[in-house]
Symmetry: D2
């Protein structure tokens, strides 16, 4: 048994990472890679690190190029996935790494993205574990459409959802500040993404709740809390190409002990292959998860501040994008969830 | 007129930065540099970048070596400044870059540092502007002892104090997450400070309120608020040698407009030469202030989260340590406050 | 069929990388990991990125701990491998990532390392392809002892040997300058390896032919040339944790065309799975090979300078150490040479 | 006495660095800053680190804007300086940081740059010290036109010229490999200059003698040697925003001792304020000179390889561009050569 695969938008960082991971997947076989301005070039000209794809050439991102595969991974700019998916075979498993099918609320889409609204698909964050919610793992089985979460959203959701669901933290005044690498912004040619600007520096952006991932964060955390949450999210660009280190904090709920707090996370992820809660007093480094589909979470209670602080490390391109896509595809197709996915990070 | 200067602990990063800045000060003349294990070596052997000090040799840190100067800057490990100062001439201006004389509360000292308590000195953060408080700028004039604030403390205090003092933000549930460079930890030989560990990574430490700067942050912000504050502080080590980018957030006080918020900070720093509030929608990068005694602050109101977010950039070794020391010494001696201090950062 | 494996010196960077790669090897099963000061600790306490080794504990590096395995990988400081190997079962495959068994000439050992000389073992650089020389690939088959080359040596040897062997470059005035990451120096607690020293900087070391890898470079290149070569080698430490980018240059031999030059390298590596010569005008980036057992080589002829310039990228911890060890072990055991080894790099 | 200054091309990195240095120059007063696409913007919008220029606005780069100043610094793309200078007042001191007036040979210009050739100006590398050559320091006095050298050219010329002039190294088979930061390439929006591409990596470019600085290197070194040299030059881009670390090597001349070698450099730079030869066994780090107009040089003789190796560190934007421009302007105007220029680097 083997599934044929097409990757649309293969020339970007997310597309490249999908290909890097797919090369090690025993049941997926990449047959087609598509691009926009790079169409016609050998894949190696764009991704010289992907030596195992020696003979593949990028073709145009068209319906004809994508149809006829068992699985299509989309790594396209927002607005593009929604349009092309309407032309794809409904029996093809389409996994969208973009934003077009993440938000359930059309007003959120209009405010943060704009343009046509395409509606939400089953959500590719199997560990979110929200009761009575369509995004539960079991509900990914057999689906033909999957929306992969935003990378920042994954880091914050994994870091705060268990506490909200268990009621050990309060749903208001959540604060998340994320150290993020520039690869999350893709290959866009923008001055603030130049190495000269980022080396030796750090800068916050989309400060004050204007980042497009905001409504998706609220959507996930509100579902976990069972009530609408308020959350302040600030991404800080740092000089490391990949990775997210999310410091997510919340007010301790009344009468909750430090032991109760820890139990909420430990219980939530006890059986998860890819989400690990670290022992007391330990906190993850970003490099622990680089290249891996793993999320590591450390938890502390600050008694003086009356707040819980969680630190979550993921690789934005793996657990934050391409790994989540493959993990969700594995579930949808009835394969072992961990098939082909790396657990160990590349450090140092 | 010219003041003779000794720098104790000159072989470390803070000591080196004091020397770099002092070389450009028209009224200060460095005559003596002392060290511990490096005593006997030429200064250039330890700081090959300080080419202007070609003939200076490091001597032992003793009372005899330090006495007889107009000014002594101490860049010693905590616990050392308190002891040696007791032996120094009371007419010498002693500026302590260490922690020994920052905390007013002995219980805080005992809990976070331990060992003998030396009592608080006038506090070298002239811009803190706390009414009816001993740390006001005017009260630095003529003093003979100055305690330089902790670098993280400076970044958070500058970022939140104006809002607390003006009452536009609430004194509870303050949250500050700081991207910090490893130079703040000095030249300590620890595995987690090795380049291989820090490059390509980021890691939180002292999570949950255990960092030694915590009581000093609470001390400053409580003074500004006029009531005891609660604050969660998490430093995140990033791969940039210098600099702090502090994302400090607070709950909006009831009935306060975005305009009121901005005014609090703009008014507080209107006449400050070294603390600049950026125009609406602009936020600082760490590299904007590298090498400079400048603090840049950007402010946003997140209406959905009902919180104010401030982003403050300083150089931990300049405005966070050596620059603050010199600025405070200028005030104490009746010199122009900005004398010899750089305003422009080194970017890119 | 499956081979039991012990890794000695598992707590260092080379040991950790061996474990990362071995986790993906279908025929090797890690049963024992040993360390020195870290003995007694869970492996995860030292290498939190190696999540797949959840239950392994580091034991002392003793003969008893290592004997009884099919394969022992040694990642020990120089001088240690030679001693312990004398106590190991002669039927065990011992692969030494250290320097103890690389040099054939005792005087070189005495000059650059010192202490007891242990003699050379079969050399684990299968692609060196030196005719009539003991290091040829076929001669690794069935051996029980393998010396893994030094990482810098591998980069320079792969970059220059084909031209020397083919006679298209001259054996004198070879010059190699290598950009290297600090992980090559291991976890040693030295001031010059601190992040604060390396970030935003670059520094040459062992300038003037004093690096321990020098005699090994001369040994390999002289074998390829069929005559004693002269080579100037300078490593330059840069702020990237892993990787080597070697710029190796040589005088063009008389009457040789640019086409002849390129052919020498293309022919030498035509059938190599892990060494790829890039098309004309293309040169590798270090990040193309991070995490991979791949070496990429770009070649140019500078007509005006009458020199050939080759640029070779490897990951010092993979093709430069742990990957080479496993590749050589595969050959020794009659397994497919590429088994369990990554070909694709992790970029960006 | 005070000189009025205009900086053309002020929005780029070289322009920004000119302004940073000029802010500390006691005799130069910046009145006009010009740009191309950024004209009309406040300077602070483009260079938020230059806080001392609060009220300056970028105007268009026109003859009218530039004429009427005592000094005009040009930081323009090549081809632009030549054109605009023809329209500037002949009595204005024009200092060109671009390439238009560096090469003496029109054929070199045609081959490496192309377009109109504007002829060579007095050359702004006072330390080159080439006998009987128009570029000697004394010949900068009183000139009205100065060409600032290329940054890589400065590093290599300072590193090799003394040995060539003294005859202790041979003029053929010179090899220079430079670790360079991306700021040397300016703010160009190119994929290979993105932070995601450069972080964690290193890459050689213009391999094989194709870099535009090649003919200028040959021009300088041939003048020093008194005969046409052959030199192989390879720049390697590393993840540090600023700085050049040049490893320049040459064949030892026959019968020359290590002492003779060292003397050649020590004598050449004995009286230079900005070029320092380090003691035997010491080599510079790039960070030693960041922000400074200083060049540090370490020298070793590799007896086995029969070659001399010099390691030269400069800041590409200071001694490599803006500092050299100001130093040369000081000489031209009869001011102290060191006026307003920093000697100490910013480290760590």
């Amino acid at each position: 048994m083997s599934f044929s695969v097409a990757v649309a938008g293969a020339s970007g960082y997310a597309g490249g990472e999908l290909l890097r991971l797919l090369a090690n997947h025993p049941e997926f076989e990449v047959r087609t890679v598509t691009a926009n301005t790079n169409a016609g070039q050998p894949l190696l000209a764009v991704h010289p690190h992907l030596r195992s794809y020696g003979d593949l050439v990028l073709s145009e991102t068209t319906t004809a190029a994508l149809n006829g595969h068992d699985i299509v991974f989309l790594a396209l700019p927002h607005g593009k996935s929604g349009v092309i998916t309407e032309t794809l075979d409904p029996e093809t498993l389409v996994v969208d790494c973009g934003a077009d099918h993440r938000l359930t609320n059309e007003a959120d889409w209009a405010k943060f993205y704009g343009g046509d609204f395409f509606g939400a698909w089953p959500y590719g964050l199997p560990e979110l574990l929200i009761e009575n919610h369509a995004q539960q793992r079991s509900q990914l089985v057999g689906v033909k459409r999957i929306a992969v979460p935003g990378c920042n959203v994954t880091a914050i959701s994994l870091g705060l959802a268990p506490g909200l669901r268990a009621g050990v933290i309060q749903p208001v005044d959540l604060v998340a500040v994320l150290a993020v690498g520039p690869s999350g912004a893709g290959k866009s040619l923008r001055t603030n993404l130049l190495a000269s600007e980022i080396l030796g520096s750090a800068s916050a952006y989309a400060v004050g709740g204007t980042h497009r991932h905001n409504p998706e964060i609220v959507q996930n955390l509100s579902a976990a809390a069972g009530t609408k949450v308020t959350v302040s999210f600030t991404p800080v660009l740092i000089p490391a190409a990949r990775g997210i280190l999310a410091t997510s904090t919340a007010r301790l709920a009344a009468g909750i002990s430090a032991h109760d707090v820890r139990s909420a996370w430990v219980n939530a992820y006890a059986d998860e292959p890819f989400v690990h809660v670290l022992p007391e007093g330990q906190f993850p480094s970003m490099s622990d998860v680089i290249g891996a589909n793993t999320a590591l979470i450390g938890i502390a209670v600050d008694e003086a501040a009356d707040r819980v602080v969680t630190v979550t490390a993921i690789d934005n391109l793996v657990k934050g994008t391409a790994g989540a896509a493959i993990q969700s595809a594995n579930i949808a197709l009835g394969l072992p969830e961990t098939l082909g996915l790396p657990l160990n990070g590349l450090a140092p």
